[in-house]
Symmetry: none
Subunit: 210 residues, 4 copies
DNA sequence: AATGAATGAGTGTTCATTCAT
DNA sequence: CATGAATGAACACTCATTCAT
């Protein structure tokens, strides 16, 4: 009533921008200092908005964290879909394809490393719901890995093994390197190749492999 | 005066007992609900002691947590030393010895699983000091693993590889299974064997192995 | 410019309408939930206007309440003047006239019951000024009643008594029934008659009355 | 455990004393400034205790108010039971007995006037529960009055009338005088006599009438 | 040594009010 | 004039810590 469409658009945009500033600030603050110590006031200070503004957008620190997580999962999901888009069809291309996929996935993860770590390490310490959500995401990855593995075993690309156990090993390897961080440039190639080699060959002496 | 001495002993014992009750209660409370949410009052309630009593023993929730960590690391250290006491000397016994060691180590870890997870997952979210301590412990494990690996490569028990990368993979595998928990009984044997097999052989098709 | 004049009229009308919407909404909100709990935002929501609009019309929740009170007192004043317009001149018509007046006054009050109660019960809890205003209005009624009574005593229509005390009794009776609410229809007649009888005769046994 | 009975007694007493200080302070603050404006901090300041202490004893301002009301109702109940302990048995003593009872009741009420007004006038503005409680108390008084009246009508002490309506009139009279306050000393006697006379006789011209 | 009542600094949250559009 | 996003002062409440007993 009396409100012009123009006014509505302007207001909406302003609101969105403010929300984005809060999310950005929270991302910076949380990745630097974790979830627990920062106070709401630290976040609004970093965002350069008033204290009350925070509560117009989020009902509490927890909800803001959730919003951050949602955004992260969307980004990761997209990145991963792309990384694992093409499945190898012959033994020969299997290792190469894997290498490419892992390198791509590593790139995506490293790009979002800070937030991913935030989610993985702080999430479970926040509350049971978030703990479950993290577990769910991890189980999702394990499930995917197990699917690939089962398919590979079936196709003779992989040694018969308990894919449930092995896929968890793969998840563990990924997590550990996410946590430690991966090198950049050529070193990244080297590291990824070592990881993939380990996954394919183990560290055992092999027969006379390669 | 004789009585004084007696009185001193009594008091000292009482103090020790009270401290133990607090530590026990804290272990229960923290493993159930994490480090952050429980208040000091939750711990003293669980211990059945007065609020003020807490501060006669610890200056802080943080200090109490440290005490818990110290005890844990002592226990784990002892268990691990024992698990990895004997080093294999020939290729033949290498995998068997590894299997035995891993199974033993898994037993120790599972026994202290709740506290270990507490340390690993809550620790880094508490403060920078504790975060560093956790990292240090993990690096210690990785360093040990790398030592074994280097020795094995040297001795021809293991495929030449970047032991720095591979040892982190091994740590990741261990952590992931610590986090998920291991089954009990025969299933434990199966799982451990699968893990060790994966570490030795990877999941690749092998040549015509075994 | 002619347009300007037109524009002015339009704006003025809109302003009046908006103010009326706010007053109406406030009446509804306040009579439903009292003065204290409703927030300014509850009122603007009920009025269907923007938050800022409120402050173009009233500087305060308090000022809005005052405006409501002003309107009420005007309405009540008019109603009462009419109800007590004709004074009885002989003993015979005294009770009948009273009955008619009381019934008329009761009608006016019941019509504005919700707002009157709002004023009477919430007013004194708002601030000293409003408390004084309520007291003043009540004293005004008492003063009127005392005037009637003195006149009646003079004229022999009423028993000599301390009219100051008795008029307060009458006010009390009126307030109590305002608060409780009066029945509708024939029951109203009955109740008013009982009240008037009580005021004239008390509840004592009388001589052989009626 | 370790706690001596003596220690328990001392602590308990201290706690009771602190609670009493808070109740006293609240009574003073509320009767002076009403329920709504005073902040919790005003009360703790008046009581001379720390802010946190308040919350050891009451969960909020509302609960403290309830405690005050409880105490008041106990006091009033006792005073009134006594005031109306003896029922008149003959017409002759009826008015005298009433006079005595009303004077006694007036004394009790005036003694607790400030708190009673607090309860009556602020109570209904606090929340629906308290509003209901006030209504309940008032209805209780009306019910008692109606009982007396019915009994008196039966016994021929009182004129047949609609006791439901008349008892509400009596309650209104009492409330109005509670609100206005009664004079002290001889004037009290005069006022009470005028009120009782009005209740028995009304203000009508009396016996040789009509 | 143990206790638990008292404390108050610190923090989350609300809501009247402002102001750019 | 009307709007509603933004604001921050004000306040309620929590909880680690102290201290009298």
């Amino acid at each position: 009533m009396g409100t012009t469409n123009f006014r509505q658009r302007i207001d909406e945009e302003r609101k969105t921008r403010t929300r984005a500033r809060l999310l950005d600030a929270a991302r910076r603050v949380f990745t630097a200092a974790g979830y627990h110590s920062p106070k709401v006031s630290d976040i609004v200070d970093a965002a350069g908005v008033g204290q009350g503004t925070f509560y117009r957008h989020f009902s509490d620190k927890r909800e803001l964290f959730d919003a951050l997580v949602d955004a992260l999962l969307v980004d990761l999901g997209a990145g991963f879909s792309e990384a694992f888009a093409t499945l190898p069809e012959t033994v020969e291309e299997y290792r190469d394809a894997s290498l490419r996929s892992v390198r791509a996935a590593a790139g995506v993860l490293m790009e979002h490393r800070a937030e991913a770590l935030l989610f993985l390490k702080e999430g479970p310490t926040i509350d049971a719901v978030l703990e479950a959500r993290v577990a769910e995401v991890m189980d999702g990855f394990a499930f995917l890995a197990q699917g690939f593995l089962d398919h590979a075993i079936q196709a003779g690309f992989a040694r018969p093994c308990d894919s449930a156990v092995v896929s968890q090993c793969l998840v563990g390897i990924a997590l550990r390197h996410l946590e430690r961080g991966l090198p950049e440039g050529d070193d990244l190639d080297h590291t990824v190749r070592e990881i993939v080699d380990f996954a394919f060959l183990g560290f055992g002496p092999g027969t006379q492999e390669r």
